[in-house]
Structure formats: structure tokens, C-alpha cells
């Protein structure tokens, strides 16, 4: 196992190295550079442009630049932004990342959950009318033209019904006097979510050994509400009590993008779950479970869905990778400037250090996710462990 991990790691480094080089070459292949717009100013003498690109080293041959870039990269120096000099690429990413992370972790977990739940129901109620309708809806949301749909949602819920704000991640007038930057609030919210999830996870683990199913469920439900209750105190402590108003505003703005992306994103998981679960339902142990006299819900959730979960989780881990690069559209339409916007802007304006850093970030993210997918699959499915020995 250890050797497997080491091998995979070396493989990842090599892939990443190639990824870096290829990305750099691709960016270099885009005509022009970040300072080309200087040329469009008729009153600007040519030397202004030449001096500028010389300062940023853009006048040097590709091989020299690439070599320097790679060396600096592995020293941890991802360079200054061309456009936002002297901010570094890392600073820019650090600024944008919490927003993207917040929105898309919520969206992805929700989409996964909804998708898994819907898929489960679909497979279970195979042949019923509700299955037909949910399937049609899922296929619709799976294939819908996303920008159009997002605008439609904005129009309906924001403008027509007036329930949610139109775009943006906060209401400016509420933030005029805020003592915090939104980034700080975002980080606090993420921190809270992590604490909440970890606590709940621990509770789930602790209650695993309770023999009575009803008791187990009640304890979990009870502790969930207890956590909610404690959360209230949590958000009342110190700085957080001032921050909760702003966190609330951000949460309010999260609703529509989360809803929209979830509607679009759940369908993939739902349809995949449906397929895998229908396969699982044909398996003999489902019949055994029924013969044992287990309740329908228990068979569905514990036996069928649990096994069907494996491929779904894997596919989900792979889609986590697309969180950032797939966020361009969402971030644009919902005016949620995060990593997606950063990538878009930096590529459009040929701010190569920032673009490279963003892409490297995604690349590392992707590689780690795939690596985790492999490893976790091996751990989640006891069967894989044996197979890998043969």
C-alpha cells in the first residue's frame, strides 16, 4: 500500500510537471501578451511597450522564461500578477478561494445528497408515475442550457417573486458599516461548517454501536438539533456575534446560486445512482435482506444504496475537481467573484502568472482528488483491497 501511494505520488509529480509545461506553452501560444493594449494607444511611443515587457521578462526567449518559471514554481514563487502588480498570484488566489470554496462545497454536497436521494427513490420506485416524472425532470436539468436556466432562476425568484437577491454575495447597503471584510466572514463560515460537520461526523461514529435502530436514529437527530442549538451560542461568542449578521447576509445570497447549481448538478448523480442502484437491486443479497424481514427503507438505504454509493462517490470525487474550473459560469451569472472569475479575467487579460497559478491550483486539486478517489475507493470497498493483491 505504501509503495502504491509512493508510486502514485511520483506519478502525480511527473504528471503535474508536464501539466505545468504544457499550460505554460499554451498560454504562450496565445497571440499577444498582457501589455499589448499599450500598443493600441496612438500617443504612446513604442519604447514604453518595450520597456514594460523587458521589465517583466517577456522579451526573453520562451525556453529561458519557461525554465525560470518552473524553477521558481518549485521554489514556491508563483510570481507577481502582471495586471495587479505588485500583488502576487498567491495573494489573489487566497482572496478569491474562500468564496468559491464556500459556495461550491455547499453546492456540491447538496447536489450530491439530492442526487443520491433522488436516484435512490427513482431506482426504488421503478415503474411508478413519480419515477417517470422525476426522471424527466432530472434529464431536463441534466441537459438544460445552464446560463439560460440560471438567468431564468434569477428572473423568477429574484425579480418576479422578490424572494432572493439578484446576484452578488452580499447586499451592499448592509455592509456599509461592516467592521469585517467579506473574506474574513467567509472564512469564519467555512470554519463553522467544518466544525459542525466534524462534530456531527464524530457523533455518527460514536452512535454507530448502538444496537437499537430507533434509539440510534433519535440520538443522531437529537444531537443534530443540539448542534444547531449550540451553534446559536457559537455565533454569539465574541467577534462572531457581530459577524453573524453579515454571515446571514452572505447565507441569504447563497440560496439562489446553491439552488440553481444544485438543480443542474444533482441530475448527474441522480441518474448515476439510479443506474447503479438498479444493478444492485438485482443482487441476491437484496433478496436475502427482504427474506430477513427487514423494512423496505432499511433495505433501500442500508443494503441497496450503501453499495450503490461506491461508484457514485468516486464519480463525485472526480467532479469535485470541476468545482473551480466549472465555476466560471456560475460566478459570472451570480456575480460571485471567486476562482472562476479570477481564471477568466487572468486568461482574458493574459495575466500569465495568475492564470498559471490558478491552473496549477486546479491541477494539484485534480491530482489530489483523483489520488484520493483511488485510495478511498480501495478503503471504502473491501473487495478492491483483495483484488489489488492478485
Amino acid at each position: 500500500m505504501l509503495r502504491y501511494i509512493v508510486n502514485r505520488f511520483i506519478q502525480m509529480v511527473v504528471v503535474f510537471f508536464l501539466f505545468l509545461i504544457i499550460s505554460y506553452l499554451l498560454f504562450d501560444a496565445i497571440p499577444g501578451n498582457a501589455f499589448q493594449n499599450l500598443l493600441l494607444n496612438p500617443s504612446l511611443p513604442p519604447y514604453a511597450y518595450e520597456e514594460t515587457i523587458a521589465l517583466y521578462g517577456l522579451d526573453q526567449p520562451l525556453s529561458v522564461r519557461l525554465q525560470k518559471y518552473i524553477v521558481n514554481f518549485f521554489k514556491g514563487d508563483l510570481g507577481y500578477s502582471y495586471i495587479q502588480f505588485p500583488k502576487t498570484a498567491i495573494e489573489l488566489i487566497a482572496e478569491r478561494l474562500p468564496r468559491t470554496l464556500m459556495l461550491f462545497s455547499v453546492v456540491n454536497i447538496l447536489a450530491f445528497y439530492t442526487g443520491f436521494f433522488v436516484g435512490k427513490i427513482l431506482a426504488w420506485r421503478r415503474g411508478s408515475k413519480s419515477e417517470t416524472w422525476i426522471t424527466i425532470t432530472s434529464v431536463f436539468s441534466y441537459t438544460v442550457f445552464y446560463p439560460w436556466f440560471a438567468l431564468l432562476m434569477l428572473w423568477f425568484f429574484g425579480l418576479r417573486m422578490g424572494w432572493v437577491p439578484i446576484g452578488k454575495f452580499l447586499t451592499p447597503s448592509k455592509w456599509y458599516d461592516s467592521p469585517f471584510d467579506s473574506d474574513v466572514v467567509f472564512l469564519e463560515m467555512i470554519k463553522y461548517m467544518v466544525i459542525f460537520s466534524v462534530l456531527y461526523f464524530v457523533i455518527t461514529l460514536l452512535t454507530k454501536e448502538i444496537e437499537s435502530l430507533n434509539l440510534r436514529r433519535n440520538i443522531r437527530l437529537g444531537s443534530f438539533f443540539a448542534l444547531l442549538f449550540i451553534s446559536n451560542f457559537y455565533w454569539n461568542t465574541g467577534q462572531l456575534s457581530e459577524m453573524r449578521f453579515y454571515a446571514g447576509d452572505i447565507a441569504y445570497h447563497t440560496i439562489l446560486p446553491v439552488l440553481t447549481v444544485t438543480i443542474v448538478a444533482f441530475a448527474g448523480t441522480a441518474l448515476l445512482t439510479r443506474t447503479t442502484m438498479m444493478e444492485v437491486l438485482k443482487d441476491d443479497y437484496i433478496l436475502t435482506a427482504r427474506a430477513k424481514g427487514l423494512s423496505q427503507k432499511r433495505i433501500r438505504d442500508r443494503h441497496a444504496a450503501r453499495t450503490a454509493l461506491l461508484p457514485v462517490v468516486t464519480s463525485f470525487i472526480f467532479t469535485i475537481v470541476t468545482i473551480i474550473d466549472g465555476s466560471v459560469l456560475t460566478e459570472t451569472i451570480f456575480s460571485w467573484p471567486g476562482m472562476g472569475q479570477l481564471i477568466l479575467e487572468s486568461v482574458l487579460r493574459e495575466d500569465i502568472p495568475v492564470a498559471m497559478a490558478s491552473f496549477s491550483f486546479i491541477g494539484v486539486f485534480a491530482l489530489i482528488a483523483h489520488f484520493l478517489a483511488d485510495v478511498s475507493y480501495a478503503f471504502l470497498d473491501p473487495r478492491i483491497r483483495i483484488k489489488s493483491q492478485g
Binding site: E211, Y285, L287, T288, K292, G293, R302, P382, R383
Partner: protein
């Protein structure tokens, strides 16, 4: 020994498919007494598994029980709601499925899967009670206690099958249905499993319904057998009597086609043709098209009906000659 624990009367069941109704079980009547081993033998597709499924009311959704009654310990099973059935399943009647390899959920530990049944039927049990019970069961079927913490794939086929038997026994059922429990196991393991079943059955005084296509196994395992063909029982009676004086041509054909390592090496007789399609109702004798003794001593046009030919030995009327009406 003589009290009837399972009484199946005139059971008919069909599957509704796009091509038409598949008449899987036709007018099947039999009973199982307390502590008795009852064998159900026949080729694949003859309806024996459908009977087993119907006994537990686990038949697929597209199946319809058109007629008949299943009384378990005097209680009618047909028409019970899913929740009522859940109480009966495993508690009174449990099953060891064909292809036991796949009877285990691959991602849940063996012990957990057995405990699950215990929890469902004995919600008041403490965890320790359940664990003790499982250990006891494992001991009974010759498994180590540590098996409870293993995943299914970590066990060999034989161990898995032993564990399945432990699972089937977990809720102290009155009847166990064993549906081809040793198919796909090799002979030595099969021998061990059969032994185990016999031992447990005697120990606990259970009734056993043993379903198989293997005449040799049935011969060893059962007190009484029913031979099924095309959804119907064509011959039923005490095992020794059916083997020693088979009356139905199909029973004879089955016996003639089974190789043995004992006795003279004899030329076996093959049975040509295929079982009939069950989609359409068959008039008269369903075995007639393949019957090697057709029209010699039987009346294939006669409707199928079981006629007693010896003590507790019944055979399909159309395979009998003129004397039986």
C-alpha cells in the same frame, strides 16, 4: 412428528410479462410436517424456486398468485401485508438461497448482517445477547467466532455457505428452505454443508424444504420428495418409495440420467428436448412431448391430477394407464 407445519393447497402463480402470462406454479399442493425434510426436485425453470419464493411471499412484483393457500402453522400467509409478512419472515420461515456466494452484502461485515436480522425481530435484545447468539450459531455450523468481523469476500465459498446457514437459523425459524444451497460448491464442500444442514436440522428439530435438481443429493437429504415439471408436481411421495418404484416417466428419466460412482457403470439415458414454454396453458400432460414412454402406458390427453398410488405416494394421473381414473 405428524403435525403439519406448512400446508400448501392448490397454489397457482404466474408472472405477467410482455409476452404473456408465464404460468410458473400450477396447482401445487403439499405439506411439510414438523421435523420433516421435504425435497423439491426438478430441472431449472420447473417452478421450484418460484414455489420457494411464494412461500416467503418474496415473489417479484410482476407475479400474481391466482389461487391457493399457504398456511404456516395454521396461519394463512397469502394476503398478509408487507409489515405482517416481515414478522413472519426469518422468524418462522427462513431461506438459504441458491448462489449463497451472493447472499451477503459485500460491504457489510458478516456479523453485522446477522445482527441486523436479530435486531429486526428481537428489538429488545441487548448487543451482547445478539453477539452471544451469533457466536453460538457460528459454533453450531463450525465457524470461528472471528468470522463475525470479516467481510464476505474474506471467506471461502464453504465458509460463506456455513455462515448463510447460521444466518438462516438466527431467528429460530420453524422451517428452513434450502434452495440449491450447494450449487457452485465443489463436492467436498457440498458434502460438508449437507452434513451440517442435516446435523443442525436434527439438533433443532427443524423442518427442511430442500430444493435441488440433483437427485443424488435429494436422495440423501429428504424424507419425502415432490418431483416438479413445468410448474406442476408430477409425483410426490416418501423418498424411498419414489426412488424404488418411480411411477411417472419424468421421475424415471431423472433417475436414469443421474451418474453414480456406486454400482455397475451403466449407460445413462438422456432426455431429449426442452421443457415446454410456460407462457401458454398446456392441455393434458406437459411431459408428453419429451416422454420416452409416450402412449405406452399413459394417457397424455388426460388433465393433470395427482392420484394416490401407494401410501402417501401420489402421481400425476395422466402418466398412469387406463386403470386409474
Amino acid at each position: 412428528m405428524s403435525d403439519i407445519i406448512l400446508d400448501v393447497q392448490n397454489l397457482s402463480m404466474h408472472y405477467e410479462t410482455l409476452e404473456g402470462n408465464v404460468l410458473a406454479v400450477k396447482d401445487v399442493t403439499f405439506n411439510v410436517k414438523s421435523g420433516e425434510s421435504f425435497g423439491l426436485v426438478g430441472e431449472s425453470g420447473c417452478g421450484k424456486t418460484s414455489v420457494a419464493m411464494t412461500l416467503l411471499q418474496l415473489q417479484p412484483e410482476n407475479s400474481v398468485i391466482s389461487e391457493g393457500s399457504i398456511k404456516l402453522d395454521g396461519k394463512e400467509l397469502i394476503g398478509l401485508s408487507e409489515n405482517e409478512l416481515r414478522k413472519v419472515r426469518w422468524d418462522s420461515i427462513s431461506i438459504v438461497f441458491q448462489g449463497a456466494m451472493n447472499a451477503w452484502n459485500p460491504v457489510i461485515k458478516i456479523g453485522e448482517q446477522i445482527r441486523e436480522a436479530l435486531r429486526e425481530h428481537y428489538p429488545e435484545n441487548s448487543k451482547q445477547t445478539n453477539i452471544d447468539k451469533i457466536n453460538q450459531l457460528f459454533k453450531m455450523v463450525g465457524l470461528d467466532e472471528s468470522t463475525a468481523n470479516r467481510f464476505p469476500h474474506e471467506l471461502s465459498g464453504g465458509m460463506k455457505q456455513r455462515a448463510v446457514i447460521a444466518l438462516a437459523l438466527s431467528c429460530d425459524p420453524k422451517i428452513i428452505i434450502a434452495d440449491e444451497p450447494t450449487t457452485a460448491l465443489d463436492v467436498v464442500i457440498q458434502d460438508q454443508i449437507l452434513n451440517e444442514i442435516k446435523k443442525v436440522q436434527e439438533l433443532l428439530g427443524l423442518s427442511l424444504i430442500y430444493i435441488s435438481h440433483d437427485i443424488a443429493v435429494i436422495a440423501e437429504m429428504t424424507d419425502k420428495i415432490a418431483v416438479m415439471y413445468a410448474g406442476s408436481i408430477v409425483e410426490i411421495g416418501p423418498t424411498s418409495e419414489v426412488f424404488n418404484s418411480p411411477k411417472h416417466s419424468y421421475t424415471k428419466a431423472l433417475l436414469d440420467s443421474t451418474p453414480s460412482i456406486k454400482g455397475e457403470k451403466k449407460k445413462l439415458k438422456s432426455l431429449d428436448g426442452e421443457p415446454p414454454s410456460l407462457i401458454n396453458k398446456i392441455e393434458g400432460c406437459s411431459f408428453a412431448p419429451r416422454c420416452p414412454n409416450r402412449n405406452i402406458s399413459c394417457k397424455p390427453e388426460r388433465d393433470m391430477k395427482l392420484i394416490e398410488v401407494g401410501h402417501d405416494h401420489f402421481v400425476d394421473s395422466c402418466s398412469l394407464g387406463e386403470n386409474y381414473e
